[in-house]
Amino acid sequence: MKKTIGIQIGPDSFVDEGVEEVLDILQQKGAINTLYLSTFSYDRGITGRQIPGQPFPDHGAQESDENYFHGGNYAQPNARFYEKTVLKGEKLRAPDFGNLDIVAAVLPAAKKRGMKVYCSVQDGFNYPDDVDLVKNLAEVNLQGKQEGAMCFFHPEVRAFWTALVTDLCSSYAIDGILLFNERNGPLLNAIGVSHAQHIESAKVTCFCKYHEQEAKAKGIHFQKAKEGYLKLNEFVQNSLNGRRPSDGYYVEFSRLLFAYPEIMAYNQLFDQGKHQVLKDIYTQVKSINKDLEVGFHIEHTNSFNPLYRASRDYSELATMADFLKVVVYNNCGGERYAGFIRNVSATVFKDVPPEELLQINNCLLNYTNEASLDQLPKAGLSPDYVFRETQRALAGVSGKSRILPGIDVNIPARVKDMATPDDTYNATLAALKAGADGVILSRKYSEMWFSNLEAAGKAARDFESI
């Protein structure tokens, strides 16, 4: 099977640079044969021009889209698919480009060139204020406040995702769907075990009535879970304030997990909800056309965090996906990984010097020869990291689904200079050499430089010629 050389691209780029022009560039410079079109998203990670404040790449409009960026569905939602849902898809049309239907605009041109087209659909962390419909479906945090992302167990949320992919798969001759959902469960959020830069243990989710119902159905004591998370919040806040428990931070944290097994169980409940949506989508897409493919984006935390790794079993994910886009962003990975280490060093592992914790974590994750903590943001992670994570994913799925590592092509970083073309070349080649079924250049064309795109294309071509 030919390797997938894919790229994530938002509607802005086609609007700014022209459909044919962009496809020419992608094919010629990047050796791209598959498009992952950002179709439904409110997130700047995969849509919009360059992130405000970051330098523009050497193509496209050199002006920020801050004054018009909104997000939503960049295709044309068909109301009949949302007749039975409260969340009316037709009302979630992205207003950014008037009547533009990105899928309708790109699909025929791409097909003419023999390129595959997947619609990228993203479940965001939050939604713009004017998207009122979402507010009633939002999660309820530990303090009882309803806000932010949508609850996985809300029946209307499940119905919406199913309706959306049904709409896309029925209305367009696409090759499949790539679903993005980077949200973590309450335990991991409470202890800040991602690369996010803040820890908000008081606002973890979700404690809504649907979660309560689902917890009850699974024999999880809802009140005990809530009580456990309140205690966890106390632990985290005390830790952040440097109030060391007499038995040490880690022991106190473990004791909390022993005393409240509901903490872990409730975190798993979140994952079950998330995976249930993935499964719903997979089943629905296949029921429309079994040849359509469904892929899931596996977020960056999966690389850094052993606890997260434990909660994501590749072999299980492979039963509900044709391919997994495994994030192996090595360039921005340095500062993100350092962020993760600093977060866990501020709570659960506060007794361990961060540098030593990094070394231990490297061992647990099978990373070798990565930079020291103070150098990590500047150095990034190595191509070897890309290689190892690709191999790990391949071993995990045991051939049951394809692995397409997500390659970091100029993802903005706070400290690190932008990835050089060599960085991109090495990362792309590392993924392919490790046995990947292809790659997905990430996060979006509108933040990539041509020289990096060319470097990725060269790696793909060089690999083919090996």
Binding site: S246, D247, S254, M264, A265, P306, D351, P353, L364
Partner: protein, 515 residues
């Protein structure tokens, strides 16, 4: 509430390190040595001990020592040389840790017979059991036969009283397979085989412990009971997360009908728990063989715990059974006389293992004990801690080089300046370890019970490992008092202690009394 300072703040690592302790005890050594050279025994250097405080300065002694050396003579030695005011008399055990002469194969100390008791040692109840207390248990015949009619409590209590010493009866959950009735009480492992340990939910076992402590408390004029149970739950055993040198995950217990019944009451799925432990057994075996899971050993282990929350629940069930017995022992003793005191021995693994620490909440233990004997054996602690690191470094942390794992664990445990892994056996743990563990326990119980650290006096170690010196005994004892302890318990048994080490501990005790 007692005043204590957190180790982090009052870091004594610089002045409480082994080197510092040795330096501070050098004076003592010099005096002792000079005394010896001049024909004066160290015993004569100090004035007789005067009871000046209410702290318990204790020692563990088995029956054989009194038989071998004479009650008066032993009491003279421990009182005058060791400054001991409290005896922890080994009253019930089948284990050699507390009872019997020196462990076979180990060098004899400089007192008592220089001959092994391996041919005669049996164990059991070294006092006289009274049948009326044992009506509700099949464990009726437990009298230790090897010392004839000798009744340790009857023989020692009157003499101890004359000297103003307190007497506690030590009772240990250690058995031998030929005790009448024991087959009805044994645990069942994950493969359905009978183990050689007793099930803590078995009604016969529960009834036995209550009967035993009631019998002892009613029949003798003791001050209380010190209860020993060093057994761990199935998860920690399966992982080899103790200092024992072997890992046999298929021997994890207990899956008997009584456990099953108890699990049902608590809503724990027995079949899922068993399935989880079988998967854990598989994980351990493949880890020991070096078959690395693609996500790494630690991740695979955690995934198992996530997929089978029953694994942790079952381990907690074991602890629940253990603590239930502690509670029953406490209640039974207090029912006889509220003034009697009950203490629990908190095993060594509590020092090394952060998971274990997490399952032992000092404040909770303090609600069912008047005092806790916290094991802080620093000399043998070196090789034991090294074993623990090697054990977990062979399974869940196999991806981490052992030396790094040790350093990581030291941080979690708040140990500073301990030896590297390859030198731990020969270096032992420092007096600073004793100090920190004492302070941790004191902080943990929040004034709700007393803390008596167990001090390592000549506990046997491997041939190549550190052998405790008098300086070690002095420094460890001193560290416990500096840590704010309510007393100490010299451990494990008089019959393995050299007199010089008892002298040294006694000197530290006297200094503590003097203030």
């Amino acid at each position: 509430m007692k005043q204590y300072k957190k180790s982090k703040e009052t870091n004594l690592s610089t002045n409480n390190s082994r080197r510092a302790f040795i330096k501070s005890s050098a004076k003592f050594t010099a005096v002792a040595a000079t005394g010896s050279m001049m024909g004066i025994s160290p015993f004569n250097i100090w004035k007789p001990y005067k009871q000046a405080d209410d702290r318990m300065h204790g020692i563990q002694i088995g029956a054989v020592s009194f038989v071998d050396e004479g009650v008066d003579k032993v009491l003279d030695i421990v009182q005058e040389r060791g400054a001991i005011n409290t005896l922890f008399l080994t009253t019930f055990t089948h284990g050699r840790g507390l009872a019997g002469r020196q462990i076979p194969g180990e060098p004899f100390p400089d007192h008592g017979p220089q001959e092994s008791d391996e041919k005669t040692f049996h164990g059991g109840n070294y006092a006289i059991p009274h049948p009326e207390y044992y009506k509700n248990t099949v464990l009726k015949e437990t009298r230790a036969p090897e010392l004839g009619d000798f009744d340790i409590l009857a023989a020692v209590i009157p003499e101890a009283r004359k000297r103003g010493m307190k007497v506690f009866a030590s009772v240990e959950d250690q058995w031998r397979p030929d005790v009448p009735g024991i087959k009805e009480c044994l645990e069942e492992d994950v493969l359905g085989r009978q183990a050689d340990t007793l099930c803590l939910f078995n009604p016969n076992v529960k009834a036995f412990w209550t009967a035993l402590v009631t019998d002892i408390s009613k029949s003798y004029d003791i001050d209380g009971v010190l209860f020993f149970n060093e057994r761990n739950g199935p998860l920690l055993n399966a992982l080899g997360a103790s200092h024992f040198q072997s890992i046999d995950s298929s021997r994890a217990t207990c899956f008997c009908k009584y456990h099953q019944k108890e699990a049902e009451k608590l809503g724990i799925d027995f079949k899922r728990a068993k399935e989880g432990y079988l998967k854990l057994d598989q994980f351990i075996k493949t880890s020991l063989k070096g078959e690395r899971p693609s996500d790494g050993y630690y991740v695979e282990f955690n995934r198992l715990l996530l997929n089978y929350p029953e694994i942790i629940a079952w381990d907690k069930l074991f602890d629940l059974g253990k603590h239930q017995i502690l509670e029953e022992v406490y209640t039974a003793v207090k029912a006889v006389n509220t003034n009697l005191q009950v203490g629990f021995h908190i095993e060594h693994v509590n020092s090394f293992n952060p998971f274990y620490r997490a399952t032992r909440d000092y404040e909770d233990l303090a609600t069912k004990a008047d005092f806790l004997k916290v094991v802080a054996y620093n000399n043998c602690g070196g090789e034991r801690y090294a074993n623990f690191i090697r054990n977990i470094g062979s399974t869940i942390f196999k991806d981490v080089p052992m030396e790094e794992l040790l350093r990581f664990n030291n941080h979690l445990l708040n140990y500073e300046n301990e030896a590297p892994l390859d030198q731990l056996d020969t270096a032992g743990l420092s007096p600073d370890y004793v100090y920190r563990e004492t302070q941790r326990a004191i902080a943990g119980v929040k004034g709700k019970c007393k803390i008596l650290p167990g001090i390592d006096i000549g506990i046997p170690t491997k041939k190549t490992s550190r052998k405790g010196s008098p300086e070690d005994a002095y420094a460890a004892t001193q560290a416990a008092y500096k840590g704010g302890a309510d007393g100490v318990i010299l451990s494990r048994k008089y019959s393995e202690m050299n007199l010089a080490a008892i002298d040294a501990a006694g000197k530290a005790i006297r200094e503590a009394i003097k203030g």
